[in-house]
């Protein structure tokens, strides 16, 4: 079949050939764009997830600034109640101040070395500063001393306590031995 024959055939069946050409063009276009929709849908999925995350962040951040400020103020307050392990003089002064305020008599006071190291990998902002203290006094004085220690200017936890009096003389002063920790900042 020559080109002339082909042209004649096309001229004889213009609709069939026109539609065929159009169908071919559509088929090629569909083939070429077959990946466009899945790709666009995947992109939409990613963007939607990103958008949802951002929307949730904004929703959850309601009053975040106020809460952060409140937390920062709390931290500032906390830090004013911390001791520094290196400031031995200031630390012992705290106990002697309590002695003066409560009337007990300190018979032994030592700042000891930390026994338990913080867990490996644990990021502790604060350290426990251990003390060993023994006092003598009446029951009200000792209770006052304990209360002031536990609710005083520094954060305190008592690890062990030994509290005794003379069995033969009930009026004799009581002795309290404490092993305690004050929260500090290195």
């Amino acid at each position: 079949m020559t080109n002339q024959d082909l042209v004649a055939l096309i001229k004889k069946h213009p609709i069939s050939f026109g539609c065929g050409a159009l169908s071919l063009a559509f088929a090629v276009a569909l083939y070429l764009r077959v990946d466009e929709i899945p790709g666009a849908e995947a992109e939409l999925g990613l963007k939607s997830a990103d958008g949802d995350r951002i929307a949730l962040n904004i929703q959850y951040s309601t009053q975040l600034r106020e809460h952060t400020d409140a937390m920062a103020a709390a931290i500032k307050d906390v830090e004013s109640h911390l001791v520094r392990p290196t400031q031995l003089g200031t630390n012992t002064q705290y106990f002697y101040k309590l002695e003066g305020e409560t009337g007990v008599k300190i018979i032994d006071l030592r700042q000891t070395a930390a026994t338990a190291a913080p867990a490996k990998g644990a990021k502790n902002a604060y350290v426990a500063v251990p003390f060993s203290v023994s006092v003598q006094g009446s029951l009200p004085q000792i209770l006052d001393f304990l209360r002031q220690l536990e609710n005083g200017a520094h954060y305190c936890r008592v690890l062990t306590a030994s509290f005794s009096g003379a069995a033969s003389n009930r009026n004799a002063p009581l002795t309290l031995g404490l092993s305690l920790e004050l929260l500090g900042k290195s």
Partner: protein
């Protein structure tokens, strides 16, 4: 009728014979004289195929257009909110760091019993015939050395009653076991019954710190 009378063999012989004149018809040039022309079906099929493919292609393009529109909408929202979100994340990280510190302080304070409260409670609930000679709080528990007034039988009863009272005390719920550590013995120096209790502390359960705020991602 004559044809019916002819034998089959004769008919076949006639068909096999060449036509009596040559066939000069050119079928390709002759017009299509069917009722519905073949071209109609060919054109119809071609139009149907082209239309179907066109509609399908158009539908896919419309779908793509819709998805692209949604992408553009979401991208616009992201562009609008990202800065605020990033700022919130930065603030939240600071909040988290501060929260960790506060939780650390809270854990430090709550990790041990308040001795002043415990001593006061024991003093408040101490029965008339019982005196505390020594109070020793260790990591594992509390040892109480008591002197109980009265004859041996009565003093043992007072001691047992006191132990039961301690067990039932709701304010001493940090202890889970209440036991005599040894047989009560009379102290010859004081004439009182020496009794020793051991109150075992419950194992420390680290309370999981609940996050104050929902996390930002």
């Amino acid at each position: 009728m004559l044809s019916l009378l002819k034998k089959k063999g004769e008919t076949a012989e006639v068909a096999a014979l060449p036509a009596w004149h040559p066939n000069f018809r050119n079928y390709e040039k002759l017009p299509d004289i069917k009722v519905v022309r073949t071209a109609f079906f060919v054109n119809g099929a071609a139009i149907f195929l082209a239309t179907t493919l066109g509609i399908y292609f158009g539908f896919k393009e419309w779908q793509l257009h819709v998805v692209n529109g949604q992408i553009a909408h979401v991208a616009g929202l992201i562009g609008r909110d990202k800065r605020v979100s990033d700022q919130a994340i930065a603030v939240f990280k600071k909040f988290q760091a501060d929260e960790t510190r506060v939780n650390e302080v809270d854990a430090f304070i709550r990790s041990k019993t308040l001795i002043s409260v415990l001593v006061l409670r024991l003093a408040e609930t101490l029965p008339a015939n019982v005196a505390i000679d020594a109070f020793e709080l260790r990591e594992t528990g509390l040892t109480l050395r008591l002197a109980v007034r009265g004859d041996a039988a009565a003093a043992s009863g007072y001691a047992t009653a006191y132990l039961e009272q301690l067990k039932l005390d709701k304010q001493l719920e940090q202890f889970d076991e209440f036991n005599f550590t040894s047989t009560p013995m009379r102290n010859p120096a004081t004439g009182r019954m020496a009794v020793e209790f051991f109150l075992r502390l419950k194992p420390a359960v680290a309370a999981a710190a609940k996050p104050v705020r929902k996390p930002l991602l």
